[in-house]
Assembly symmetry: C2
Homo-oligomer: 375 residues x 2
C-alpha cells in the first residue's frame, strides 16, 4: 500500500484514537496483519482459512502463549488460556468453576461498573459477600488495605484492577491472605505494567484494550483451581477443558489469537518489555493529568488523585456547552473518541499501550489551549 | 499489494485449500479486508480499533444482520444474533435456555460427531431423549422420517444438518410436529443453500465454514423462545440479553462480524444469492462424487449415496500407503488439507461456498489420474 493523501485506507488518514475499547492497536502490528492477510507466507492461504489443528496455527497459538509467559515470567503452575465470550463470560465462569454447588463464600471488592457487573453474575452461582463498594462516592477511588477484611476461608477474593468507565486503578493488588486465591479482572491493564503473577489465582483480560482485537480473552489460571468445577458445568465454561485441550478444546478465534500474538511480540521486541511499557504509560498519563491539575478551576478530574488510572483519564468541563465544543474541536484536530461514558459524563481519554506518546502530547497541548481560550 | 512470484504474501502463492474449518474464504473478501485493515475509509482507524458502540461499527453489524435477513427472507419474528463461543457454547446454551429448571424433554437425532457432542452437553441440563442414533453404522447416513418418532410435547427437536467429519447431510429438514421447535446446528451448511427459516425454532452456525473467520456464531432464534430461560442463567448464556442488546450486550467480536458481513454481501452481490450458491455447490460435489463412483473399486465413499454431503466429501483409498501418497501428491499440486478426520480416516475434501469450481475440477482431475495410475 502506498500512503497517499487521497487514499482513505492509507496510514496518513489515521487519527489519534482515544477509544476505551476496542481501542488503538500498534501500527506495526496492523501493517503485518495487512501484509499477510491474503496469504500467510509458507501456508498458501490466509491464517483465517487454516485449520486450528494444523501445525501453522498451533505454532502461532503457542507463540502467543510463550510471549505472554515470558513477559510476565509465568511458571508451569499456571495455564494460559485463550477463550471467547469476553470479560462478560468470565464474570460467570469464575464463580461457576469455583463455588457453584459448594458452600464456600467468595468475596468481592467493587470499585466501578465492571466490578458491579461481575458481582451481579456471581450472585447467581453461590454465596457472595461484597466487602467493599465504592458506589456511594460514585466510584472515584479504590480502598486501602485497612478498608476491608478478607476471610481466611474465602473461596476467592475478586477485584477489577482498572475501572475503565470511572478511571480508577489499583496501584497495588489488594491485601489478601495467602490461603485465598486472588482473582483479578485486568481487562484494561494487563500487559500495561509488570505484575507478580504468583500473587494471583486467576487473572484475566479481554484483548480489546491492550492486547489485540475484540474476540479473545486471556485467562491465566493457577492449575490447582482447575479441579473445583462441578461435573455438570457446560463444557465451554469448564476451565479444565480448555487447559487440557491447550485452548483448542473447540475452535479458538484464530485471527484474534494471531493478532494478540503479534501485539505481545511488539511489546517484547519493539517496546522492550513491561517495565519499559509502564514507563511510557506513566509518562503519557502524567502529561494529561498535569494539565488537569494546572487548570483545576476548568477541568475536574473524576478519580481521587492517588487512585487515578494510567489507562483511562476521566474529567469533566464546567458545563455541557463547553464539553460539546471540547469533543468537537478535538475531533477537528484528529483527536477522536474522547466522549466519556454516559454514567460518569464528561471526557474519557483512553491511553492504552498502543497510544503513542505523541498522541498524549497532542491531547495535553489541545487541553491547555482549550482551557486558556475558554477558562 | 503486487502479485509477484517472489512475494510469499501474494495471491499467486495461494493453493486450493480443502480444510474442513476454519476454511477457505472468498478472495475478494480477503482483499477488501486487507485493503481496509490499517484504516477504514472515513473512520480514521482500523475497524478493530473502533468502539462497538460507535456508529461505524453498529452500521457494520446491522449491515451483516440485514444481509443474512435478506438472503433468507427472515421475518421480525426472529432475532439474528452474533455470539462468541462457537457451536460448543450453543450445545449448552440451547438446553440451558429451553429446558434447564423445567420438566420438559428435548429430543435429539444423532447422525455424527457434532450431534454426539451436542447431546452430551444437553444431558447436563435436563431431560433428553435420543430418538435416532446412527452410530452403529459409523454415521454413514441420516434417517428417513419413518425412522424416528417426535413427541408432540417435546421442548424441541435437535439435529445437525451436515456432519463435517462423516460427510453426511440432511437434504430436507427432519419431520417435526408444528408444536415442537426444530433446532438445527447448521454450522457447516448455513448460507450454502436456500432454507425456509420459518420451519425452525433456532438455527445456528459458527462462521468458519461458509460465513467467515472463526470467532463469531450466527444464531437465528424465534423470539417466543427468548422467554424460556431460567432467571439464574449466566448472563452471557441468556439469548434474551443478546437479543435485547442487539448483539451488543457485551463487546462483540468486531473483526469477525465485519468479515462475516462482507462474506454475506459477496454471496448476494457476486454469487447472486443462495439458489445460485446451491447450484455451484451441487456442481462441485457432483464433480468429485462422480470420480468416486466411476472408480468404485479404488475409492470407497463413506456416506450412503442418498445422504452424501455437498460440503464435505469423505472417502478412503485401498490402503494406507496409497492414502499417504494421495495426500502428498495432491499437496504437490497445490491441493491442500485433504487428510480426513482420524475418527473416519481416509480423505475429506471440504468444498464450502468459497471453494471455486476450478478447485473442485482440479481435485476431480487429480483423483482420476491418481486412480488410473494406481488402481
Amino acid at each position: 500500500m502506498s500512503a497517499s493523501a487521497t487514499d482513505p485506507t492509507a496510514i496518513s488518514s489515521r487519527v489519534y484514537n482515544f477509544s476505551a475499547g476496542p481501542a488503538a492497536m500498534p501500527v506495526s502490528v496492523l501493517k503485518e496483519l495487512q501484509e499477510e492477510l491474503l496469504c500467510l507466507p509458507g501456508a498458501g492461504a490466509s491464517l483465517m482459512e487454516l485449520s486450528h489443528r494444523g501445525q501453522v496455527f498451533t505454532d502461532i497459538l503457542h507463540g502467543a502463549e510463550n510471549s505472554i509467559r515470558s513477559l510476565y515470567g509465568i511458571s508451569d503452575d499456571y495455564a494460559v488460556l485463550f477463550l471467547q465470550g469476553g470479560a462478560a463470560l468470565q464474570f460467570s465462569m469464575i464463580p461457576a468453576n469455583l463455588i457453584r454447588g459448594n458452600d464456600k463464600t467468595a468475596q468481592y471488592i467493587v470499585t466501578g461498573s465492571w466490578g458491579k457487573k461481575a458481582i451481579g453474575e456471581a450472585k447467581k452461582e453461590g454465596n457472595i459477600e461484597s466487602i467493599y463498594d465504592a458506589k456511594e462516592s460514585n466510584f472515584d477511588h479504590v480502598p486501602s488495605p485497612g478498608d476491608y477484611k478478607v476471610r481466611d476461608d474465602a473461596a476467592y477474593l475478586y477485584y477489577c484492577s482498572n475501572e475503565t468507565i470511572q478511571g480508577v486503578q489499583f496501584a497495588q493488588a489488594p491485601s489478601c491472605p495467602t490461603s485465598v486465591p486472588l482473582v483479578c479482572d485486568a481487562s484494561s491493564d494487563l500487559l500495561s505494567r509488570p505484575l507478580d503473577i504468583n500473587k494471583y489465582g486467576i487473572i484475566y483480560a479481554c484483548a480489546q484494550k491492550n492486547a489485540g482485537p475484540a474476540g479473545v480473552t486471556v485467562v491465566i489460571i493457577r492449575r490447582d483451581l482447575l479441579d473445583h468445577a462441578p461435573a455438570n458445568l457446560p463444557g465451554y465454561m469448564t476451565y479444565k477443558n480448555h487447559a487440557d485441550g491447550d485452548s483448542m478444546w473447540n475452535t479458538p478465534p484464530t485471527f484474534a489469537v494471531w493478532a494478540l500474538g503479534k501485539v505481545a511480540r511488539w511489546l517484547t521486541d519493539d517496546i522492550g518489555g513491561l517495565a519499559a511499557m509502564q514507563a511510557v504509560n506513566e509518562q503519557k498519563a502524567k502529561l494529561v493529568y498535569e494539565v488537569i491539575d494546572a487548570n483545576s478551576n476548568f477541568y475536574k478530574g473524576h478519580a481521587k488523585p492517588d487512585c487515578r488510572s494510567k489507562m483511562n483519564v476521566t474529567f469533566n468541563l464546567p458545563n455541557d456547552e463547553l464539553l460539546g465544543r471540547f469533543v468537537k474541536e478535538a475531533a477537528s484536530q484528529d483527536l477522536a473518541s474522547l466522549k466519556g461514558h454516559r454514567s460518569v459524563g464528561g471526557i474519557r481519554a483512553s491511553i492504552y499501550n498502543a497510544m503513542p506518546l505523541e498522541g498524549a502530547e497532542a491531547l495535553a497541548s489541545f487541553m491547555k489551549d482549550f482551557a486558556s481560550k475558554n477558562g
